[in-house]
């Protein structure tokens, strides 16, 4: 019986800062300073003003569930199912989204629009995944 090993993000030049910040417990995105516009995935230019005056800025980690699916299919032998895949929208910006997992929530309680907050799951010495749990979770 094969063991499921969760694949982790490779550290690449444009994404390295994102994953490493998660590992340090911070959710951060590339931002256009003049537009105050978050750019995800990170690009070397702002798609609104085409400016290059960018930095990296933190967000609150609060989000709303834009959509979700309960996955039942084992995509690899040994993978535990079911689990909830969520598409969350960060409160800072319309359509600033992450695909993630909704955790610490019974599946039947998951619903579109529910408020969520980020929690980080360390998957290596350098990378953590941003997962989301109900904001009301104790």
């Amino acid at each position: 019986m094969a063991t499921f090993i969760r694949p982790i993000p490779a550290l690449e030049p444009r994404t390295e800062a994102f994953w490493k910040a998660c590992r340090a417990g911070r959710l951060e995105f590339t931002r256009c300073i003049p537009c105050n516009h978050f750019i995800h995935p990170s690009r070397p230019i702002c798609p609104k003003c085409r400016g290059r005056n960018l930095d990296v800025a933190p967000v609150s980690g609060r989000a709303r569930l834009h959509s979700y699916t309960v996955n039942h299919q084992r995509w690899y032998p040994g993978q535990e199912v079911p689990y909830v895949i969520g598409l969350v929208e960060l409160i800072e910006q319309t359509n600033l989204r992450l695909m993630t997992n909704v955790i610490n929530c019974p599946i039947e309680r998951v619903q579109i629009g529910m408020p969520l907050r980020v929690v980080f799951e360390n998957v290596s010495d350098e990378v953590a995944l941003p997962l989301f749990e109900p904001e009301a979770h104790a």
Binding site: P7, H66, Q73, I85, M99, I112, L129, L131
Partner: protein, 392 residues
């Protein structure tokens, strides 16, 4: 507007190889079978072919996904070409067909062989269908934001679209089921379809779940098979053994962010922009269309295409297909008359093109749409789309 250049092209020939689950045949062998038959169907000899194009070319895809590259096929067939292209990026899997219309219109070639070949069923025979990135330790590129979260299939990505559509518009699981049941009903009349046994709504609703709201019958069936078409200059139309199928308009537009997760309105798809682009290039309207062959890699995609093309209003595709009568043979808009990819097999876009050509030629026997003069082919899902308006 001057006449769209794609009207200087026609589809002169079409053919498919054997299609099945686990044929265990070489992808180049299947491609040559389809190619030779398509060339003969156009009344041509291999030496008449002077262009070649394919989707996606020899990329690193999942097992059995890519098929042979155009250089392998050119070499195998022993032909000289004046124009050639393959690639993954473009207006969905039919992009090489659209490229070919322009190549013949520009005089770069006169008869282009265009094909799509898959051997995904045989390739997964030992392992079952695995997720994208399964077995990898590290994930690069855009998938790094999906795969580590267990979103390892387009089934997961598009389930998010379907769920949001249900949330905003009250679309029901039974509406997705109408797409699956219609395909299955039509597949009974297609000897090459892989799933032809009758299916009821109860069968559909009780199928095992894959990624909610998608169950087994919302997801297309991997197969082995090759589809080939010959795109020729319109000035050859009179010499053909079969009626020429004409490109009235193509749709290739892509607006907004072409990313699965950042697409701004996930109740729609790139189909919205490609379809609007196509209608902007013609005087024909949705009311003129006799049959639609719309991508159903997942059932929801077909609903999104129906809205994108204007056959119903935004959000109203569920009620539009409810009960299935409207979209079945004999209804006002027969859909996926070959079974679609859900029942006919995942020929990855080209199955819809082959069926549209055969319907327009009047070759479909029991599943023929009467007096079929105008057909729409819509291919792709999520942030990927291309469409064709074909006429007899």
């Amino acid at each position: 507007m001057s006449e769209p250049l794609e009207r200087r092209a026609i589809i002169s020939g079409v053919a498919q190889s054997a299609i099945g689950r686990r044929l265990f045949r070489d992808d180049l062998d299947l491609t040559c079978e389809a190619a030779l038959a398509a060339i003969a169907d156009a009344g041509l000899k291999p030496d008449n072919i002077d262009g070649i194009a394919a989707y996606p070319g020899p990329i690193q895809g999942g097992p059995g996904f890519a098929g042979p590259g155009i250089y392998e096929v050119q070499d195998a067939l022993g032909i000289d070409v004046r124009w050639h292209v393959s690639g993954l990026e473009g207006p969905a899997q039919i992009s090489p067909i659209i490229h070919a219309t322009l190549a013949v219109a520009a005089g770069l070639c006169r008869h282009a062989l265009v094909y799509r070949t898959v051997t995904e069923a045989s390739a997964a025979a030992d392992t079952g269908r695995r997720g994208i990135g399964a077995g990898s330790l590290e994930i690069s590129g855009f998938a790094a934001f999906f795969i580590p979260f267990g979103a390892m299939s387009a089934a997961n990505w598009l389930a998010l679209y379907a769920r949001r559509h249900m949330h905003e518009f009250g679309t029901k699981k039974e509406h997705l089921g109408a797409i699956a049941l219609t395909g299955r009903k039509h597949a009974a009349f297609n000897p090459k379809a892989v799933y032809r046994e009758p299916m009821t709504m109860d069968d559909y609703l009780n199928a095992r779940l894959v990624s909610e709201p998608f169950g087994l019958y919302d997801c297309d069936a991997p197969v082995d098979g090759s589809t080939a078409v010959v795109v020729s200059s319109a000035d050859t139309a009179r010499d053909l053994p079969h009626p020429a199928v004409r490109f009235n308009a193509v749709g290739t537009a892509m607006h907004k962010r072409p990313l699965w997760d950042q697409w701004e309105d996930i109740t729609t798809m790139a189909a919205r922009d490609a379809a609007a682009h196509m209608w902007s290039r013609t005087d024909l309207t949705p009311q003129d269309v006799d049959t639609v062959q719309l991508y159903d890699g997942f059932s929801f995609l077909t609903l999104a295409w129906l809205e994108a093309l204007g056959f119903c209003r935004r959000g109203e595709s569920g009620p539009f297909v409810e009960g299935g009568r409207r979209i079945q043979l004999g209804g006002e808009l027969p859909l996926n008359t070959w079974g679609g990819q859900l029942s006919g097999g995942r020929l990855h876009g080209f199955g819809f093109v082959a069926e549209a050509v055969r319907q327009l030629r009047g070759e479909c026997g029991q599943r023929q749409v009467p007096n079929c003069e105008v057909a729409v082919v819509g291919v792709g899902g999520g942030p990927v789309a291309g469409c064709l308006l074909l006429t007899r």
